[in-house]
């Protein structure tokens, strides 16, 4: 089976910092991959390379058969790949509904009725149908992140990237976001999730990856990686966060 995300020997430098040092990773359609690792390990950078928010210096990334090279291809990939950010990045000048409508209209050229139906059913799905006319800053962090997920889903992406989606949330709001993500995983969405939420990884992920020093150190199914890792680096990292 052809992988939906193919990452081949990717290198990335930030000035003199070698942030990604030859990463290879193939992700199949429908797989949920959780990436963990210390800060500065390159896990967010890797994620951001997949939709080319970050340019990589060497190597090759192919998403759904489209190589990330020309500007045209990058935009094509971006419409297929949804991204959820640590800091939500909702558009504060637009209502929740308009946040979800904007790209549908501008990029997908959908009609008002079609995009609004889509937006309302997605708000239903993430559990906040009553917040359509609110503005982002009037919502709690957990609600904002769920709107951000709905906004990304409105583009009908084939892949969803999550960059530490719960790190900026108060503890009691984390679960509501993880529930939405778990549902999504069970529906068969291909997901790459940078997160240290072990509960989510166990419940929803097929694969868990530990990154350190810009490289993939170890990969295993989540139960095995978290309970019985082979590498010393993984053990010492897990001992710090568990």
């Amino acid at each position: 089976m052809e992988p939906i995300i193919h990452i081949e020997n990717v290198h990335k430098w930030f000035g003199s910092v070698h942030a990604l040092q030859g990463v290879n990773l193939d992700i199949l359609k429908g797989q949920v991959v959780v990436v963990i690792g210390p800060s500065g390990s390159g896990k967010s950078t890797l994620l951001r390379c997949i939709n080319r928010l970050e340019e990589f210096d060497e190597g090759r990334i192919v998403v759904d058969g489209i190589p990330l090279d020309s500007a045209q291809n990058i935009n094509a990939v971006r419409t297929e790949v949804g991204m959820v950010f640590q800091s939500f990045n909702l558009f504060p000048h637009l209502s929740v509904l308009d946040n979800i409508l904007l790209a549908q209209k501008v990029v997908r050229k959908r009609s008002q009725i079609e995009s609004e139906n889509k937006a309302r059913s997605l708000l239903e799905k993430v559990g906040i149908p009553d917040k359509a006319n609110f503005y982002p800053l009037q919502l709690s962090g957990g609600q904002q992140q769920r709107v951000a997920i709905a906004r990304a889903l409105a583009m009908d992406p084939k892949i969803m990237l999550f960059d530490e989606p719960t790190s900026a949330l108060d503890p009691e709001m984390i679960q509501e976001v993880l529930d939405v993500m778990t549902d999504l995983a069970h529906e068969g969405m291909t997901m790459v999730v940078v997160s240290h939420e072990m509960g989510f990884a166990r419940a929803a992920a097929d694969r868990a990856i530990l990154m350190d020093g810009g490289q993939i150190v170890e990969e295993a199914p989540p139960e095995i990686l978290f309970t019985n890792p082979k590498q010393e680096r993984t053990k010492s990292f897990l001992s710090k966060i568990l």
Binding site: R78, S87, A103
Partner: protein, 275 residues
């Protein structure tokens, strides 16, 4: 431009009811406008000679000043945005050209720029026309108002581009990333996400530029444009009424700038974020 792809603002939500009740109170600063207008009217009716004569004589000039201000300002808004975006461009060449433009313009007095546009630039065109044996170019003689608008636009666009640049840079990078990750192009992201937010940030400095521009239109009187200041000088020269003339000119400028200030603060209030 085609209609906006997303609908008019949705109704306001019902939270924060203490804050959402409409303030119908009139801004007290309107009082200052009223005082100055009142003063002009009192002078005009209580002592029509010379004040009414001055006003009648200034009338054409007031119109010229308003016209030059509004046309230049609209052009400055457009050119300033283009230069501001160029200053943020990834391309070194585009950024370099824009930076040189801004640095050169900011280093030359506005008065000199206006004089340059009116006297020197036509002379350059004429010399080129002579050397090319082109009669149209050799007899090139632009009208003063056009060249004054040119000069003010090029001068102020340099300052305005910095205002735009600061406004755009004040919007967090995450906004651009979110828009691009949804598949929007750079210009779509600018138009629908970044600029609508940046405009709210830059309104106060833009209003400031507008008022400064309004006052700097007085400089065009140096190049035979019959604006209000020029008309004042003409009136003084033909009547030798000095104090009253300049009191009236000053008062009319003051009314215009005070009105502009009110306008800016009204726009500012209307464009506050919903929180």
């Amino acid at each position: 431009m085609s209609s906006s792809p997303y609908p008019a603002p949705t109704p306001k939500p019902l939270i924060g009811s203490g804050k959402t009740e409409k303030k119908s109170r009139i801004d007290p600063w309107w009082g200052l406008v009223a005082v100055v207008v009142g003063l002009i009217l009192i002078l005009n009716f209580a002592s029509p000679d010379p004040y009414n004569r001055i006003l009648v004589f200034l009338k054409d000039g007031i119109w010229v000043t308003v016209k030059i201000t509004i046309i230049s300002f609209l052009l400055v808004m457009v050119l300033g945005l283009l230069v501001g975006l160029a200053r943020l461009s990834k391309s070194t060449i585009v950024r370099g050209i824009a930076t040189v433009y801004v640095e050169v313009i900011r280093g030359i007095p506005m008065m000199v720029q206006i004089i340059f546009w009116y006297f020197a630039s036509p002379a350059i065109v004429q010399e080129i026309g002579v050397s090319l044996n082109n009669a149209t170019l050799a007899n090139f003689r632009p009208d003063g108002t056009t060249m004054a608008i040119f000069g003010l636009t090029f001068g102020y666009a340099a300052y305005m581009s910095e205002v735009y640049r600061a406004g755009i840079q004040s919007i967090s990078r995450g906004q651009m990333e979110a828009a691009r990750s949804l598949g929007m192009t750079y210009f779509q992201a600018m138009r629908y996400v970044i600029l609508p937010q940046a405009v709210r940030v830059i309104l106060p400095p833009v209003g400031n530029e507008f008022i400064t521009l309004l006052k700097d239109t007085a400089l065009v009187s140096a190049v035979a444009v019959p604006d209000m200041t020029r008309r004042g000088r003409e009136f003084q020269a033909s009547t030798f009424i000095i104090i009253e003339t300049w009191v009236m000119v000053a008062l009319v400028y003051l009314v215009m700038t005070l009105l502009a200030t009110r306008l800016v603060s009204w726009v500012e209030k209307r464009s506050k974020f919903e929180r």
